[in-house]
């Protein structure tokens, strides 16, 4: 019987000779990630265990990206707690201050996550790295503490669901639209406990940034991982960045899938997910008249240079609608620097946007773009739960960067074609 990519990666990281979906196995992890919100709980657990020196500091990556630049005294204390631990434990892959960026944009960029890796992260969007052909999954802080001490994690072997995107993309459609469409079809628990394996001609045609957006939101369908097999584009991205060897896996032809679903991209227009779940996705032509107060372009989903280029293409020579706040947050220092070099930041400023530092900030209602009661935001982020970006009586709509930028110009949720005649 053939095996899926997920099963091959798990097999390469466990002593268990044979396993089935549903079995619980112990795996060696290549990377264990945490941020300023989740690391403190893990560190406290390590300290309470009495361990002086963690055995696997080389696998640990800490990124201070959520409530940074420190939004208040409590956040500053949390960051200091992580910083002190990182220094004491000699954790080399510690990203702070001007070296920090939104973690799931930063790690691929730095070559710290590679095809064939088994990655756990105390952040639910750790599944982003599935786009590189890795098995990457979000866990809790206690799992992370255990990984720092033992180098291992426990994993319930998931069954795999396959999703195939056929055909060619319609204008202004990107990876974000495909994944919102998919979640709209299967629901926020449509892939619960499962691996999503995403493929097809339309996915092969996507650049890495779009694929990262897709894998990023696998968790929004409840999935444990969202894997896209590595191909030539992946290798071209990874090779110059990697500082250690990696393995490219492909699923066998006779691998077992719990289900196989085919989507035709000819029917997928730019998507918008309505409040208060990512599954409330609609085609832009069905969005109706939705006035918005704020646009956010950034995050681990859509804060990469490719996303900013799309936004700039639309915002160039135009003005943000009066009374609307358009926040643009390049996801990493490198993205910021490239956006400056390419003149994108100037386009954004001329249009009347606000440029923020690389931070998760507004995505989770942390800081730098909080909504008042009754306000509506359209964001390129990944969650639109009640109160996600501020007041519990505010609303978040989700889209890709093209719809977000067009909507910033019109002041209501709009198709890119409306402003790009």
């Amino acid at each position: 019987m053939g095996r899926t990519i997920a099963e091959k990666i798990l097999a390469a990281h466990t002593q268990t000779k044979s396993f089935q979906p549903g079995d619980i196995i112990k795996v060696d992890v290549d990377v264990a990630l945490a941020n300023d919100i989740t690391a403190p709980i893990a560190i406290r657990a390590v300290r309470q265990s009495g361990v002086e020196k963690i055995a696997h500091a080389d696998k640990v990556v800490f990124v201070l990206d959520h409530f940074t630049p420190n939004k208040d005294i409590a956040s500053a204390n949390q960051c200091r707690y992580v910083r002190d631990f990182a220094l004491q434990q000699e954790i080399e892959k510690f990203f702070d201050g001007g070296e920090a960026g939104v973690e799931h944009a930063l790690l691929p960029e730095k070559g710290l996550v590679l095809p064939g890796d088994l990655i756990i992260g105390a952040d639910s969007h750790t599944c982003t790295y599935g786009a590189l052909g890795a098995f990457a999954t979000g866990v809790g802080s206690t799992d992370l503490a255990a990984a720092m001490m033992t180098g291992q994690a426990w994993i319930k072997v998931p069954p795999t669901m396959k999703f195939i995107f056929e055909g060619e993309l319609l204008p202004w459609v990107g990876g974000k639209d495909l994944i919102l469409y998919l979640i709209g079809k299967i629901g926020v628990d449509g892939a619960l406990y499962r691996v999503m394996e995403i493929e097809g001609p339309a996915v092969s045609a996507l650049e890495l940034s779009d694929r990262l957006s897709m894998s990023n939101m696998a968790i929004e369908a409840g999935a444990k991982a969202g894997i896209i097999a590595a191909d030539g584009k992946t290798e071209a991205y990874v090779k110059p960045r990697a500082k250690r060897p990696y393995t490219v896996y492909a699923s066998d032809k006779d691998a077992r899938y719990e289900s196989v679903t085919v989507f035709d991209c000819a029917g997928i227009e730019p998507q918008v997910a309505f409040p208060h779940l990512p599954e409330n996705a609609k085609g832009i032509s069905e969005a109706g008249d939705v006035k918005i107060d704020q646009v956010v372009i950034g995050s681990c989903t859509n804060g990469r240079i490719e996303d900013l280029r799309i936004a700039a293409r639309i915002l160039k020579g135009k003005k943000v609608s009066k009374g609307l706040r358009c926040l643009i947050l390049p996801a990493t220092p490198e993205v910021y620097s490239r956006a400056l070099g390419e003149g994108l930041i100037d386009i954004f400023l001329q249009a009347g946007s606000i440029i923020g530092p690389p931070t998760c900030g507004p995505c989770l209602g942390g800081h730098m773009g909080i909504l008042a009661k009754g306000e509506r935001a359209l964001a390129t982020t990944n969650r639109n739960f009640v109160g996600r970006m501020g007041d519990p009586a505010s609303e978040v709509y989700l889209s890709g960067p093209a719809v977000a930028a067009a909507s910033a110009v019109t002041g209501k949720i709009s198709a890119p074609q409306e402003v790009m005649s």
Binding site: D143, D189, R388
Partner: protein, 164 residues
């Protein structure tokens, strides 16, 4: 172990922002977090909940973030266990890792009403609605997870057994 308390009912897809909004994540102190537990889903919950009470929800409870602050807040608020039709996967593993008992039962999730007195036998997974007299059986817990519960969570498990 017998867990007993009043049922607080919630719907499907209760997310971690509803369980503990991110605006409170500048701390992981259980005593602070419990004051805001379930606040955006039911503002009265932190004041009304009493030790032993039980959260009963629909499908996909705990979806969203990996924040362990969510089971920490629930546990600190005195809730003895959560019963749901299904749990989101990170919330599921976090609960076992840190010793918050959770039980999956479609039938109990559908039948238990707000305010019912509910009793759960944590060892057998038998759920009794003492108000209506109905009895339900939760789905069995895998062996390794039972080990985690017996050991008192993942860190104690590692301490006792020298590894995962």
């Amino acid at each position: 172990m017998i867990l007993k308390g009043r049922a607080f009912r919630f719907g499907n897809d209760v997310d971690t922002d509803a369980i503990i909004p991110a605006r409170y994540l500048s701390t992981s102190d259980p005593d602070v977090l419990k004051k805001h537990c379930m606040e955006d889903a039911d503002p009265a919950f932190p004041d009304r909940v009493e030790p032993g009470d039980i959260i009963v929800a629909g499908k996909n409870f705990g979806c969203g973030s990996s924040r362990e602050h969510a089971p920490i807040a629930i546990k600190a608020s005195g809730v003895s266990c959560v019963i749901a039709a299904s749990f989101a996967r990170i919330f599921f593993r976090n609960s076992f890792n840190m010793g918050l008992p959770i039980f999956e039962s479609d039938e109990a999730s559908a039948a238990i009403s707000e305010g019912d007195t509910v009793e759960v036998d944590a060892d057998s997974g038998v759920i009794r609605d003492l108000t209506t007299g109905k009895v339900f059986q939760a789905r069995p817990i895998p062996g390794f997870m039972q080990e985690l519960i017996e050991d008192g969570g993942l860190m104690e498990h590692i301490r006792k057994r020298g590894g995962i």
